[in-house]
Amino acid sequence: MEINFSLFSIEIATALLAVIILIIGLMIPKQSRHILGYIIALGLVVIFGFSFRFYGLNTAVIDKMYLVDDFSVFFKQLFLVAAILVILASIRYVNKMNGNFEFYVITIVAALGMMVLVSAGDMLTLYVALETMAISFYILAGYKTDPKSAEAGMKYLILGALSSGILLYGLSLIYGMTGTVIITEIAAKIGLLSGYSPALVVGLVFVLAGLGFKISLIPFQMWTPDVYEGAPTPVTAFLATGSKAASFAVLARLLLIALPAYSRQWQLLVAVLAALTMIIGNLAAIPQTNMKRMLAYSSIGQAGYMITGILAMNQAGVSALSFYSVIYVLATVGAFTVVMTCSTQTDSDEITDYAGLAQRSPLMAAALTIFLLSMAGIPPLAGFTGKLYLFKSIVNQGYLWLVIVGLVMSMVSVYYYLKVAKVMYMNDPVDKTPITIPAEAKITLLLTMIATIFFGIYAQPLSVLAHIAGKALLTF
């Protein structure tokens, strides 16, 4: 069998980067290891620039085990962007955390897992990639040497293993009923079955539960606030963005490509769970006093909005999901960058310690306000455009009620987002010393802020890419 390895170049380059960093890190003295962060960021930027050449290939390799379509390229680019931004923002944080350079290596391996995941054409590749990503995150979550971080790592490991088992069970049920692991062939095999198969429905539920765990879909979200709070903040940022976006992408592929025949079941299920996720995520965010927990609940609410893009079962929905993923990643990485920059100085993630941030660091206060308002969907920020895309894709499909739930919950979210803004702008700081932002974190902050404003005012370039991605998933 002839295999065109150039189609894997993004993944190969990323893996090589991880290995090279590991080797260099072992060779150079400990005190100069901090430059590794810059090397990685640079390497990822080069790979990102190179990855634009993969648009329009739309091809499958190794008997459809691996798909290189525009949808996967779009998401790979998103992971690269998220990784670059997170690594830049975390250089100072990691230095403070004993300066263990393995942190970067594992982060890249997690990104590699995400990339393979969105390209997976069969369920085995899918599972292996998912585990690559998940195991990296188990290590990362417990990376810090404090009990909270260890607890987070342990919780994530045990519950993650549980959800992995469920997912694998679900996948094996689907394989058992259809006799194939190739995602693109499952639908055809299901068509050959006579009538509905209850085992497939159970498989569907297990798959949804397993991936629902990763995207924090209610009621599989219990771990989210604990792990988000306890894990080192850069890890939280990457977990909340990369891992979630990758799981959304693969869920969309499974539900829309492999299981459209059971859409009556999963559409009902997803609609109900989406509504519950929006409601519970946003309501539970209100009484939070810890910034990271608040962002964790808000990210649960965001997942509720995002999954409506799959619910639409059309190209507009997938495009909207792709579009919103980018917007969500930008705002979330930006918000966590503020959190980690503040915490390196104040050693606290409590919202009350953000008092007077506008005086201590006007840039961070302004940036955080913009990210939060974008998540709330206030025009003219990007979150508004993203929600418009998402809700427009389902409003004509009989889900008007879900749109109304989404809009009401967006309004609710304005409340707790503005509470943070109020603390930052209205309250006087206890400690008046200005907070300095490291240059690398400033880059992340400015990039995410500018992009959040830019895509709100002029969304066309991104929506063209999202359109291509959505089209590729459904037609390929």
Partner: protein, 659 residues
Amino acid sequence: MFDIALYHAWVIPLLPAMAFVIITFFTKKMPKRSAGISITSILISFVLALSLGIGVIGQGERYLEHPLKVVVTWFSMNGLSIDVGTQIDTTSVMMLLVVTFITSLVEIYSLGYMHGDTGFARFFSYVSLFAASMLGLVLSPNLLQMFVFWELVGLCSYLLIGFWYHKKSAAEASKKAFITCRAGDFGLLLGIILLQLNFGTLDLQQLSKVIPHFTEYTGLTAAGLTGIAILLFLGPMAKSGQFPFHVWLPDAMEGPTPVSALIHAATMVVAGVYLVGRILILFVTLPSALAFVAFIGGFTALFSACIAITQTEMKKILAYSTVSQLGYMMLALGASSLSAGMFHLMTHAFFKALMFLGAGSVLHAMHDEANIWKYGGLKKYMPVTYWTFLIGCLAISGIFPFAGFFSKDLILEVTYAASSLSGQATGSFQGLYSLLFIMAALTAFMTAFYMFRMFFICFHGELRSHDAHPHEAPKVMTVPLIILGIFSFIGGWGGWPGLGEGQAFGYFVRVGNFHEIEANWFLIILSTGLALFGIGLAAIFYCKKTYSAEAVARKFPELYKISFHKFYIDEFYLWVIRHIVDKLGWLLWKFDYLFVDGIIVDGCGKAAQWSGSVMRRVQTGQLQHYAFVFFLAIVLIVLFLSLTDFNSIHVGLLLGGVK
């Protein structure tokens, strides 16, 4: 050059926009440099507009029938696509020329007029922002973009009226202008939304194709579309100071005089006329909407002329005359003639800017004394202002061969034609148009009278104020006056009778077929006669003093009072606001405070907080608890799916998936 300007017309508004940004962020502390940046940018825009104008006139027919649209998609999704860009056709190019030309002159004039003002740089930054917004409006290829810029020019108008914000009257006037315009804009926005909902597009070209056949494309009745048209028209009514929204415009004279000349005479206030002109096809399709436009225009023209007769401040008189002339333009559009409306828009921009700048020159000389009865005999102190002002007065009165003669005559002609055509667009409204023709003719007479009343009081006789030492304005102010004077003289020759295709103004700017202009001697003699009669009457009263104006006023005290108090419209509005709006507001506040705030908002907040704390209690932090919820959820979901009957699979599901 022409091609570059044609495909990159967006540069024209961009240059002043950049000037605004640069001044605001970098050169605010440097007045001279700010003015230099602002004037340079608008002059380059003017040169670009000029090259566009020459190019478009050279290829007339092409851009008349097929406007050149250069757009980028700003936002698109299934079923909705919004473009931003530029649309070049003869009408927009004409407007571009007028706006850049007048703005350039006014900015140069302001160098002298605003000299020494503490807000010198701020003034130029606002004017640049205004120029950018106005040019963006003119170039808009669709109604949404137009609306955005429409609001921006409204904002600039607000900022510039209240330029001397420490003056209470200026702050009040700016609020009044903004709020009055917003009231109209509400209608405009509703109309735009309804058009989008019904036609699925806001593109001017597409709209002009589908609107005449609206019954095929939409389920609208003629009455429904007329409703939309009238809603849309509310915006232009407010912006162009049509009755009953005219109240803000005279108060807007609180702003610096160059602003009055630029924004409240020559350009922004005609945005309403321009907008109606852009969607004239909508009104032409609906005779009753068209008649409504014509009636509002004709009535406003006469109404404000009646007020202008008794006013005693130079800028107020000019303001009411602006309202009156804007009414003329609306009347022309209401007679379904784009050419006449736009032609008068252009000539009016020349002579009204001229007169405002002249008034500024007088105010400058008289140390901001506003009352014309304190002036007198200014002729010998400021000859340039005197002669250019005379040209302006002759032009607005419609004396041959000044600019106003041709455009005013054209308006009278199209109104007259609308009243005499049978079975044409005007339909069953011929009687109305006959009445409007008489009103327009009467307005022409009154315009000549009140203009020369002011002219004679200000410039002839003896100086009445004894502590004033009037002097001619500096060159930087008189040169723009002279240039505008020249254009007020020759600016209307594009309407010379006998000009045919490719020559006449009406050939380039029109909707429908072109008719060669013919000299209608009845109208020419009538309008010239009326104007001369008005001038003569003013001369008898105020120059020769053969008869006393006060005696006449005393003879009809009621009429004088009602005109002097502007028909008590402002007082009426104030009464409504005090007694009805404020009371209603109080009631609503109580309702809001007690019911909405007290029960609904607080209730929601409490409910949300309560539910939040409940959910927090569920989050125990116990691992085994989380795992339990996880499994329980899966079991419940499977049960749920089995009970929701899909093809009787529930039994199988309950058995754990065994078939």
